[in-house]
Every structure is written in C-alpha cells, then in structure tokens.
C-alpha cells in the first residue's frame, strides 16, 4: 500500500506538486498521465526515495522511501526514462545486481529477454537504446518487486516490442504488486493501465478506475456531433466524443480522449469524480 498525504515539492521557487493526496492499492497497474512538466517524473522519484518531499508524507508499507532502507529498497524497482549501459554482458550485469533483490530470478530474466528477442550475452555498451530498455524492463520484472515505478518505459521501443511489453507486464507482474507507469504514449499502454491518474500543474485531476470512468463518462464513437460533449475529435469515418454518462450505457474508455476531456473540463471532472 502506498499512501501519499498532502505532498508538495518545489524546484527552488518553482512549485511542482502541491497538496497531492492519494492511496495506491496492491494488484493494480496505475497509469500516470499528464502534460510535460506537471511533475510525473518528480512524483515517481519521490515515490522511489530519490528526492525528499518538500511537505507532506509518502509512506510505502508504512516506511518513508527517502530513508532508503534496504528492507524497503528490496521491494522497489524504479526504471528511469533513460538508462545507462554497464560495460559488461547483460547476463553478468543481471547476475551481479540481482543478488540484492531477494525475489530475483535469473531464469525469469532470461525468459523475458527471450520474449523481447534480445540477446542476453550481448555487451550492454553495444546495445541500441531499445535493447537496453528491454534489458532493464526484463531485469525489473525478474526482481519480482512489490512496487515498480516506470517512467516512460515504451520510449525507444519499436512497434512489436511495445506489444511485447504489454504482454510481458501482464504476464510477469505479480498479482499483489503496485505498478505505476508514467507515460505520454497512452496508446502503448491502453489495455493494461487501470486505474488512471491524471496530473495537472500541482494537482491531481483524476484518479479513477476504468470502471468508474465508464460509469461516469460515455465514449461515443458515432458520426453525429453531440451538443453536450465534453470533448470531440474527428477520426476517419466519424468522431470520438466524451459526454457525461447519464443513461448508464457502457462504452470503451479511450484514454487519449479522456485525457483531453479532463484537461478541457478540469473543475467539472474533479467534481464528477470527487469521493468526498
């Protein structure tokens, strides 16, 4: 369980996060969405204990991540958007680093590397950025951590690898893990992230499951413009429109349309999804 309570963080005088409060529950893959510079990476680094909170608290299983206690670090894996190559073969690197995570499985690492069609005997310094990212993703999942924080994990992956990534996440993440994935590429993760967290400048606009979203918002894929749509976008052969779901109809959530609808109707969405 992750509890964030009145979290605030600033870079000097520039306030990035303010009064952020939420609870993240086990067994869920959270999609962390937001425009550039709203603090997605900052929030992930705060969760990982790489930064100290300005105000408020973060508790992961009751522990402050900034204390960087080994007993908590063993349960966490943070994958930054850019990863560094180590001057050795991927197998050697994984073997020497894996000893620190009690749940690490070399077989699992090699299995995921095979699924990604990446050669584990290749030197990491000779890998492309996509291969390097896949090596790190394989390692992160092979560590079997309870908390995985991924920053833009699909950046640098080719199209087949993005599909492979979705399958791998679903197949290899343990049932009680909390996964937080920050991304701009919502289509890459459309079928795996649930709940959705949308960050705006200094606040959380939305933190809801897909079920709750589809209960409160209706995604219309027809070709007639709806007068009360919160957001509409022309697609080949019709429109994608987001309206308030007043009739209880079911629809497939389009995350990109949701993101735009939330940004155009911030106050309305906050009220609509308010749990108070």
């Amino acid at each position: 369980m992750i509890s964030i309570d009145n979290l605030a963080f600033s870079y000097g005088p520039k306030e990035v996060l303010k009064n952020i409060s939420m609870n993240l529950e086990p067994g869920k893959i959270y999609g962390l969405l937001g425009e550039n510079g709203v603090g997605k990476t900052t929030l992930l680094t705060l969760l990982s204990g790489l930064k100290k909170t300005g105000a408020g608290t973060i508790r992961i299983d009751g522990h402050d991540p900034y204390k960087r206690e080994p007993s908590l670090l063993e349960k966490i894996y943070y994958l930054p958007d850019e990863v560094a190559p180590s001057p050795e073969r991927a197998t050697r690197w994984a073997k020497s680093k894996g000893v620190f995570w009690p749940g690490f499985s070399m077989d699992k690492f090699l299995g995921i590397m095979a699924e990604f069609e990446t050669d584990p005997s290749q030197k990491m310094t000779t890998m492309s950025s996509g291969q390097l990212k896949k090596t790190y993703i394989s390692f992160a999942l092979a560590c079997n951590p309870e908390f995985i924080f991924m920053d833009e994990p699909t950046n640098g992956l080719d199209i087949p690898s993005k599909a492979q990534f979705r399958q791998t996440i679903l197949r290899h993440t343990s049932m009680d893990a909390i996964l937080v994935i920050s991304t701009h590429q919502v289509r890459d993760l459309e079928n795996i992230i649930d709940p959705i967290i949308i960050l705006d400048k200094r606040e959380v606009l939305l933190n809801a499951s897909l079920e709750e979203i589809s209960q409160k918002l209706y995604f219309d894929y027809g070709n007639v413009i709806l007068p009360d749509s919160l957001y509409s976008e022309q697609l080949p052969g019709g429109f994608i429109q987001v309206v308030r779901n007043t009739s209880g109809q079911e629809s497939k959530v389009n995350i990109e349309a949701l993101f735009n609808a939330v940004h155009k109707n911030k106050e309305l969405v906050k009220t609509l999804f308010s749990h108070e």
């Binding site: 990982s48 080994p70 620190f100």
Partner: protein, 274 residues
C-alpha cells in the same frame, strides 16, 4: 535484518563494487602501475633502432614513476569509478540498490583507500621487480631496493642522532594519499562535469585563502605570539618533548582531517538526490 549493516548484504555489495571498479578502472590502473616497464620497453626499442644498443634508465626514475602514478591514480580513480553517480541515469540506479548508505560508504572507502592502492602497489612492484630481474643492467635496481636504500641512507641517519627519531614513512604516505583520494572523491560526488579540474581549482582557492589568512595573522602579532609561546614553554631545551608534542599534533591533525573527510563523504552519499 538490520537496515544499517548486514554482513552478507555488505559482502554482496562490496563484491559488486569491486567488479564495477575492475570494469571501469582496471585497465587504467594496470597501465599506470606498469608505466615504468612500458616506458622502458619503448625507450629500448627506440634506442635499439637509433643507436643499435640498449641504454639504461636513470637512478630514481622508478620511484618517480611510482609517486607520479600513485598521485594520478588518487586523483582520477574517484571520478572514473564513482563520477557517474551525479548523473541521473547511473546515479538513480545506484541509489536504488538495496544496500544501506553506510554499506555503500564503507565499500566506497575500502575500494578507494585499500583496494585501489593495494592493487596499484601489487602490480607496480610485480612489474618493476620482474623488469629488474630480466634486465638488471639496463632497467637497474627495483623500486623496492631504491626505497630500501633510501631508508638506510636518510632515515637511519636521522635515527642515529643524539635523540632517535622514528619516522613511519609508509604510514605518512598512506595518510597523505588517503586525504588526497578522499578530497577527490568528495569532488567527484559534488561536481557534475570536469570533476578533477574543479577539485584542483577548489584546492588552489582554499590554499590561497588559507595563505592570506595565515599571513594576516602572522603579520598582526601571530609570529610574536608563537615566539613568546615557544620561549615560555622552554621547548628548545627539551627536544624529546618537542618530538612528542609534534607527534601528538600530527596524529590529531590526521585523525581530524581523515575523519572529517570520511564523515563528509558519508553525508554526501546519504543525501544524494536525483
């Protein structure tokens, strides 16, 4: 399991740190330690080509190589091995390794103060000794013999005076090198770029400031105060006391400086952010 120190976890981390050191710095260390042998071979090749015979290298050159090599290693090892920790990519990955800040600090200190120095000495003396055995005429005596003759020539002369003075030469060199390494390690964990150059500039700046302050104090009555103090304490007539006090002061200075640098390094590791 303790969150501060666990022997098994520290063992794993130290082994990981040593492997990382070998990957990043092994070749540079070997090259620096074998510098006299490499230079000798190149010199002989040129000598054979140009003059048709082998020529010797001068007395004391080996020792010079050792001092220069060790000083260079002390300057560049911290930034080469740990410099990337200030970068977001490598630094965040390193901070997330499940080992305590204390274990990471202890391992870093052992690697820089013991492992690197011991490996340098081992490779240097092995290479140097071998060259001395293979080419006794041209390579000359080994550095170990040079150091031994230095001991008998100068230190024994000091010892044979009216009051015997024992100088812990290896200890002095080790503490000097340790201070040097730790200063550059702190520089490597603060500066993002040009770590060695910026650390040297800071040291120069500090020397200038210290020099100005000392001169100011000495000009404004400091010299007279010391002179007066020496006369009052009658040091001149009791050389044994002078030596004892000097030893105590030097030991205190070493403990304070080394302890201060190690503490600083620990807190830098503990508060590193990305």
């Amino acid at each position: 399991m303790s969150n501060i120190f666990n022997l098994k976890r520290f063992g794993n981390y130290f082994a990981y740190d040593c492997r990382r050191t070998w990957n990043l710095f092994g070749l540079i260390l070997i090259l620096a330690a074998l510098a006299p042998a490499v230079v000798f071979i190149i010199q002989q090749l040129f000598s054979l080509i140009l003059d048709g015979h082998m020529s010797g290298i001068g007395e004391g050159v080996h020792l010079g190589f050792m001092v220069f090599g060790a000083a260079t290693i002390a300057m560049i090892a911290p930034s080469t091995i740990y410099g990337s920790l200030t970068e977001k990519r490598s630094g965040s990955s390193w901070l997330m390794i499940p080992a305590s800040s204390f274990e990471k600090w202890l391992s870093m200190s052992l690697v820089l103060l013991v492992v690197i120095m011991a490996a340098f000495c081992l490779v240097f003396f092995a290479g140097d000794g071998l060259m001395s055995l293979l080419f006794p005429g041209t390579y000359g005596t080994s550095t170990a013999s040079e150091i031994s003759s230095f001991y008998s020539k100068y230190l024994n002369a000091i010892n044979s005076g009216e009051i015997p003075v024992t100088i812990n030469f290896p200890g002095l060199i080790f503490t000097g090198m340790a201070e040097w390494v730790l200063v550059f390690a702190i520089g490597a964990l603060y500066f993002k770029r040009s770590k060695v150059a910026k650390t040297i500039l800071v040291l120069i700046g500090l020397s200038i400031i210290t020099g100005i302050i000392t001169s100011f104090i000495m000009v404004n009555g400091g010299a007279d105060f010391i002179k007066d103090l020496v006369q009052r304490m009658d040091f001149i007539y009791e050389p044994r006391k002078v030596i004892t006090i000097f030893n105590v002061l030097m030991s205190l200075r070493t403990i304070i400086v080394l302890g201060g640098l190690l503490t600083w390094l620990f807190f830098r590791i503990k508060t590193l952010k990305h």
